[in-house]
Symmetry: D2
Subunit: 432 residues, 4 copies
């Protein structure tokens, strides 16, 4: 299957069920601040309406858990299989992605009923399954939970894009998304030694997605990595230095995107008199120098690094560094509720790597391709990650909108190099 | 101004205010069966969301009546002028039409509050205006009422298109839109003599839009006009005879549309086994032979007429015929609530022209161009009709979704020749 | 057939054959200044390569004359029917128009051989045909000749567009295309009375295209028409007065074209320091005030007229005026070889209408629709004009690149309202 | 600079000049079979006209050699710098790539004169340069020669595409492109051991492009590589097995390309009754089973490998294998003049790797990204390879249209994953 996990003891089984229920509940909590009108809009083909996310994650359990494992189960609605299948070719035809915003029915309330009905059936399955059945079902429930967590992040990315298209610029949630802290500039370089031959990839303890393995050896030479993320203030200097006007800083495809898309700053930045304002899930505010920059494409991150006389780390370098750093400092993720990257805490001691998990997904220099000897699991679930292994770049870390516990140092996120609506930023690396 | 009306006596003034209030109320009644989710969707650039119609008609009163005439009036929201201006260049910038479906806020409820606030201000204006002010304001109120009636029809056309894009095919309103009646085939030809030189255009008694004048003489030679509309049953024969596969029946642009759009039947027809089903505002039902065909483009109407060995009437011919016919048989319009064209009532005596006002807008052979000596009124209101006088064809009559009293024999409706989402059908003519 | 002509006596027959040969020869003369490379390029879908014009006009004779009338005739090449059919659906499949510029073979030389072979076969047909056969064939030869004359004009329009896309701006033929003459400004209004009921359309004496008939009565009220064409100098004032920046001057479709196409001046005008340069078939020169403006779209002509407080004449008005004016002053057409409109000759006496035939095609206010009782001839030849009767506007007069004798006062040329690559200009009209 | 080469002794210097002259001459020989008409056409944005290739390679010498190094040099034509710059942003503005086919002038003959003039100036430079100058110039001449060799291959790829768009399907050069040989099926697996840590990348002896270095260590685990290329016969089985209809075989982007492009077979294959015909530079012939398949995209190669239960090799694996194999068997390249891949010679002994250099470029599993510590040379020449390092996949080997001596085991060719007009094929690999 797309996610892999070690054999389950009773504690682990209980944790899976607990996470399932908490995750199902949290999705509804994330949709709660939204009006029914907000939940319908698809502002570009990459974006899905909120109520689609709520329904699709439910369809996932219906299709991969209830239909094969709950005897006599009948789908809640015969058309939902068509409407809420995202991209699983082997499951059957599906509604075209760019048209998700045309579907006003089922309404938000009907989607809520759909969710409740499936939750009840999942409860019934858990109550009635024998040991063997539970052993088969629990990994699927875990995968469905992880899948829904991914969609919680997408839900927030997507509604941010939707609101940004409205001249009224509604806030998802009022309140401060920006912390006032001193700007700890410049960043420091941290030397990463590593062993000449180092293993990367998930070691099989706990849940991981299929694309995180197989674990395998790589050569990583010593290099240096910045101790923190690139900030809005640093990006402002890049803009002022003509960063978006100098072809020599850009990959050819990136320069074409600058021209065709009219990029002059990160997504959600707007000229505001002499300065810039930044749209966040908490509303619009002026550029805030110490806050990590977010919503830049790979092309922009790559151009910035070139301008700064540095480069992006490879995904193997990042993983080696993150593994050795421990990455345990209490990340700024969804649980914190800030919904925006935060300036580096001045209390964090110098010398280590900060902001690794949480805040923003960090673009790496690595194209998203399969690890050596990777094979996707058989069946439709094998489409989860494997078929997307071309045309995208790897991001590592996790973001301020990533559910707690969802990410880890081996986690491979991926987006096309021109995508900007994810919470993506960067950290610099350089050769020694 | 875009609409012109004779001097107002007290009765007329009272009628204008009564119509205004009834029309404002009816818009809300038409939106009432819809969920908030339904009111957000824009299924193609030509379609506007329901809540946009509700807000735009309100903005029209705010901009052309309250702002210039109610002392001290302040707009309900500073951004609504930008969001709800449809196409008036002289009023200022406006939100791009194809993006109306991206705007979830203001919500339906907030739009309702906007409408109520503007209605209160209109009441205040009517109560406080002196005679001179009333004389200036009443024609604008009449125009705003007529404008809102046009949008009531658009609201229904648009929501029908929205629902048709949903595989669930929701009905706007359950209930029979189709009347069971005998098929009175074939149609009869009615000879129209006319005078050699005949005046056409509005004569100035009562309200008319600017494009209906100036009244002017035309030459109309005797011709024949069918006594009723072309029906679904007749269209089925055309389809079965390869009507959509024979290039020689089509104008060149029309044939290109057949190919690029994949037309094989009128809009909202779907293959259903060996036959066809038709989507109506009351849901989906099988083809019903005696019902007039609707949702055909000018290109299709023109090809059908050629196939039938006939032609479409010119707009002048239609008007001359409709004027002489009296057109008073109690049309199937919005007041009747059928929301779909109806078969010819067998009680209608033969020999006359039936179904002239109501049922479907009838495509004519005439390009939409200004009448001789036409000049639009000065200012933004002059954009109402004048600037659209290229690239479109004239339709006459009115439809089952046209508010009662809104149309008349001189009324010039217009759509691009490939448009199919209006309630457009046809009646045949031929030379003698 | 698409062209209609009265019964042929011997003189007329001889004239047809003489014209045929002269026209065939002239096509090759027009291509002579061009390199093989020039004859291949298609600079936009509307444009055809020179060698395609040379081949297509030949195919026309092969298909409509030789194949049906020369016993045992075999096409020169089996693939040419596919490659060189322009738009005749009833003749069979054909090569897609936008891909004509991809076809390097047959080469120019091979096309020359194709032309020679067909000419020989036409000679053979003329020599061997009996009287009855000649009577059937001569009208087709006349139509083919007229058709080839139309393509001579297209050939020049098209190569001008091709050369304009080359930064080197090659000239088709060096030499002065511009005559130095005093600017006879302003234009004078000429009152056109007409009879209240006037016939328009071709009267059947001599050749005419099918779309020029049937002759029929129209009502034309007295109006005024400018004695000459609008000039480059007048257009410059329009540009300087913000003509391309004021939405209120434009039809809605026209304003959209201004925005999407970035129009700021007529086609082939380029900013040159403070002024403008104009690209002609003789190369680039500065704006020349007394020269008639050319390469403006209907939308621009319409906007200019509105700005000037005037309007465009209807096609009926133009025809009535041109018929009464006699139109015999020795037009600036292809025979003169100037290949560009010329300033009004100061020798032309005031009081009459100058520049009617020749110089530029004059946009009218009339949409291109069939005359009353028009029916196209049966068969493929009926596609010649009839199927294009939607979406275009009528132009009258003829241009500096129109072969001598090709045009006449009843001639109906037509182009889409946004087209600018034809030699199209305008003359103003106004109501009395 | 973009190409790097070791210090030059006299022999090497002489060889560079000899290669330069031979290469310049060969370009003209390759264009010789073409008519002027053929040399103008651009059949898609990726394709350039033949005369553009002839001019651009000349511009390269003018810009990077003559202008900086020949005192007093003046460009042959002031506009050629604009017309014939391909993509060097730092050299200045340039003519848009998709419009190269609109440029009929300079003619082929004028391009020939341009080439001769630049050749004369290069001779002058070589004769007049002192030692220091020669040392600076020779590496640039070598780079320009290598660059022109790349364009020789492009010239042939491009004209093949041009001719394929013509229903006449002209041949570039008549004569047999296909050798009749027995089909040596199936292929054999060759085990590649390698060292655990192996260097890859160019070692600096002789010319190499910048993207082939720096040489660096990689980990390559033992694997198996097919002894020969995948053939037309094998691909036919894939097609017959529904290879183009089974989504599960494809990457998601690849499957989208299958749908949008309508792929059902390699490029240049056409259904021919029950079988397939294949268009080659020598004309059209039936599928020939033993001939290696060519003109498949990365997506097709990847899907085929998955279907075959194998995979594509990484570029490091391919290089290690090719280096150990020696790759010296006399490749089928441009010198042989077959212009199409050839069946495996039965004389080649089993057990080794055949067809490594020549025949077809082999898709690898590797995204085209910079090697560790890669930095492009400063200045415009640094744009040669570096800025294209995103969105493409690496191909290795060389093809039947690659000039002799141009390729080597470390050579990194690259194309977008959907590209099919290069001479691209594949060889399978698998894990042990």
């Amino acid at each position: 299957m797309a996610g892999v996990s070690t054999p389950l003891d009773a504690d682990r089984a209980a944790a899976i069920v607990r996470d399932l229920r908490a995750t199902r509940r949290r999705t509804e909590e994330l949709a709660a601040p939204l009006a029914p009108e907000d939940q319908v809009v698809q502002s570009m083909p990459d974006v899905s309406p909120t109520k689609w996310h709520r329904a699709h994650t439910t369809w996932f359990f219906e299709t991969f858990v209830l239909a094969p494992h709950l005897p006599g189960y009948r789908p809640v609605h015969e058309a939902y299989g068509y409407l809420f299948n995202s991209y699983y070719e082997q499951v059957g035809d599906r509604h075209p992605r760019p048209q998700r915003g045309l579907i006003s029915r089922p309404t938000c309330e009907e989607v809520g009923e759909y969710r409740a009905a499936v939750d009840r059936s999942l409860d019934e399955l858990l109550e009635t399954a024998d040991e063997a059945e539970r052993a088969a079902v629990l990994p699927l429930l875990e995968l469905g939970t992880q899948h829904e967590q991914q969609h919680q992040e997408l839900l927030l990315m997507d509604i941010k894009h939707v609101f940004s298209c409205n001249p009224l610029r509604p806030a998802y949630r009022l309140g401060t998304t920006t912390t006032s802290r001193p700007d700890r500039a410049p960043s420091r370089w941290v030397r990463i030694e590593g062993e000449p031959i180092t293993p990367v990839g998930h070691d099989g303890r706990g849940f991981a997605f299929d694309n995180e393995g197989p674990r395998h050896d790589v050569l990583v030479r010593p290099f240096e990595l910045a101790d923190r993320l690139v900030t809005e203030g640093e990006w402002r200097v890049f803009v002022d230095d003509g960063g978006y006007e100098r072809a020599e800083l850009w990959l050819s495809e990136g320069w074409a995107a600058v021209q065709s898309e009219g990029w002059t700053a990160p997504s959600y930045w707007d000229r505001d008199g002499d300065g810039w304002s930044v749209f966040t899930l908490g509303g619009t505010r002026p550029v805030h120098d110490p806050t990590p920059v977010v919503h830049v494409s790979f092309f922009e991150a790559d151009a910035y690094a070139r301008w700064a006389g540095a480069r992006l780390p490879t995904e193997e370098e990042w993983e080696v560094a993150a593994t050795s750093a421990g990455a345990g400092e209490g990340p700024n993720d969804l649980a914190g509720g800030r919904l925006h990257p935060q300036p580096l805490d001045p209390a964090v001691p110098e010398g280590g790597l900060a902001q690794l998990l949480g805040d923003v997904w960090e673009w790496t220099a690595s194209a998203y391709r399969p690890y050596p000897r990777f094979t996707p699991p058989p069946g439709a679930i094998g489409e989860y990650n494997g078929k997307f292994m071309s045309g995208q770049m790897v991001l590592r870390g996790g973001a301020c909108v990533t559910p707690s516990g969802h990410t880890r140092p081996t986690y491979r996120n991926f987006f096309p190099p021109a995508a900007r609506w994810a919470f993506s930023g960067l950290r610099l690396a350089r050769d020694i």
